[in-house]
Symmetry: C2
Subunit: 338 residues, 2 copies
Amino acid sequence: MAEATIRDVARRAEVSVASVSRALNGLDNVRAETREKVIKAANELGYVPHAGARSLSLARAHAIGVVLPDLHGEFFSECVRGMDKEASRRGYLLLLSNMHDDSDQAAVALRAMRGRVDGLLVMAPHIAPETLEHAIPPALPSVMLNSHADLPGRPALRFDNRAGAEAMVDHLVANGYRHIVHIAGPEGNLDAAQRADGYLAACARHALPARILPGDFNEEAGEAAAREILASSTPTDAVFAANDMMAIGCLHALRSAGTQVPEQIAVAGFDDVPLARYLSLSTIRVNIAEMGARAVARLIDLLEGKDLTRASETLPPELVTRATTAPRTAHPNGAAHA
Amino acid sequence: MAEATIRDVARRAEVSVASVSRALNGLDNVRAETREKVIKAANELGYVPHAGARSLSLARAHAIGVVLPDLHGEFFSECVRGMDKEASRRGYLLLLSNMHDDSDQAAVALRAMRGRVDGLLVMAPHIAPETLEHAIPPALPSVMLNSHADLPGRPALRFDNRAGAEAMVDHLVANGYRHIVHIAGPEGNLDAAQRADGYLAACARHALPARILPGDFNEEAGEAAAREILASSTPTDAVFAANDMMAIGCLHALRSAGTQVPEQIAVAGFDDVPLARYLSLSTIRVNIAEMGARAVARLIDLLEGKDLTRASETLPPELVTRATTAPRTAHPNGAAHA
DNA sequence: TTGTAGGCGTTATCAA
DNA sequence: TTGATAACGCCTACAA
């Protein structure tokens, strides 16, 4: 049995489709008696309006397209959770599409959204601005998350990666560390670049030597960096990785090699994934759920014409200090344990 | 500037809209020359078909509604990742909707899908079958994930929680543990109930005493259970929690209290969240991504009429043994360390 | 091979 | 207050 349409309801209530539409949408130019007849008929038939037809007629889908890169674990789920919360609160549905590293595929994903969503939320820290600008349908309002330089007409939300990195270096310095190595994120990734910048700036400010090891945001890169550090003759008393996973890999590798953390080498990460808490890893907390929620709010405001502040927004990071960066002076002879 | 429509393309290519439709959809009754003209015009205008209109006329949205409960972290993201992979491979988009514990809200979420999706993927281990059956639009093909008893006409995919739990108890017994306590999941949750069943069955099979402590899948419940175990006079040499988070809470609480794991008390969980690996927690691996992917495949087969096997499917669990359940005989004097 | 026209389910305009 | 009817953008008989 096919679903009931508005015409079925009209027939059963013995009114016109126009009246059904008006009654069900709560317009006031309907006699109370008529409205009741309509509602009764609709209930009896289990009528649910066809959202596709509705959006065609209204030119409004009440849906938001979400295009995310290959995020991992908590990061992905927290982001979507934040978005979903705000979206469902305001009566919007989320249409999901993963954009893998391939930018052709990204374009396909974006086109598929045409005619199903009112706006787009795009997170693409790995795609060049021109490519991105080219791929997003020009007529679709959209909010960029954590992406490269601002695109004309599209507000952007991002974390202050730079300030976060600086805060971590400041913290390490305050705790007595002087030879801080940075493990970088992947080439071309905006977050990674900004974190490295912050690290360099803070080192310069403190007149400390800077040393950057390559990385790719994966645990293995952290392990490799640890080996590099242990093998190298350059003195190192702290490692600041561009994300938690690399910090965790580094932490494991250091400890496996018999190095005391933080007594001999301190370790810090970035993101505050749940694992960080368990491993007592100092890090920079990134409230991704809030970013998701804000992005949705921003987009819906844009769609409904109540966008007051056109400017892009930068969310402040939060320093989370734990055991892996404990003050150096508290462990003057840490190495003796080795 | 509004998006170009098929009419704009037709005008520019100097053909009828019908020819544009035919040319763009790859029908063969179009002259090559005409097709070229159309494609050229479409490219020049940046034409992208309006999916809403398309689905209205085709009665096919090429989208799948996904209704999930409040899943956490990795669990949620892996599930969606698996679904997205298979869906995008087959040209479908995912429409997401979180169904919180409230079953009214669930009904609303489900109705909102009408007319935007071709089918539904529903995971609702916490909602009673009748409620669920009532809430799902009868005309919408759907696949149930990890839900209560089969609903007529809707295939179900689920993990063999029972077999998983039995496998873990068998493993504990094989490793020399005899007083195994189970920390249960929330009341009314299907996964929780099946895991408890498996635990009880295995205990009975081994003629071992069974003892179940209440829990709710959260870390704190594991901590509370640990306190209970330590305070109680009932001998206990192993704890098997209904999920990893409770096992982790229990593990921490035991160790904080100076109890050696596994020397004095072994600990096991269920799910194999990423944290489990880091904490060397033995557990039952649940390949949620594959379940998501299979569910999508199943649903699309159903939609496209090539559903061969109507029966429900049960996915086998995998035992992952790690340090927290190491053989008892290997640590005869573990307690001496305390 | 092409074009005309009707329909998908809904809302909105305009008379009545 | 109500009802007929024309959109919305697309696909697809049916005719030419």
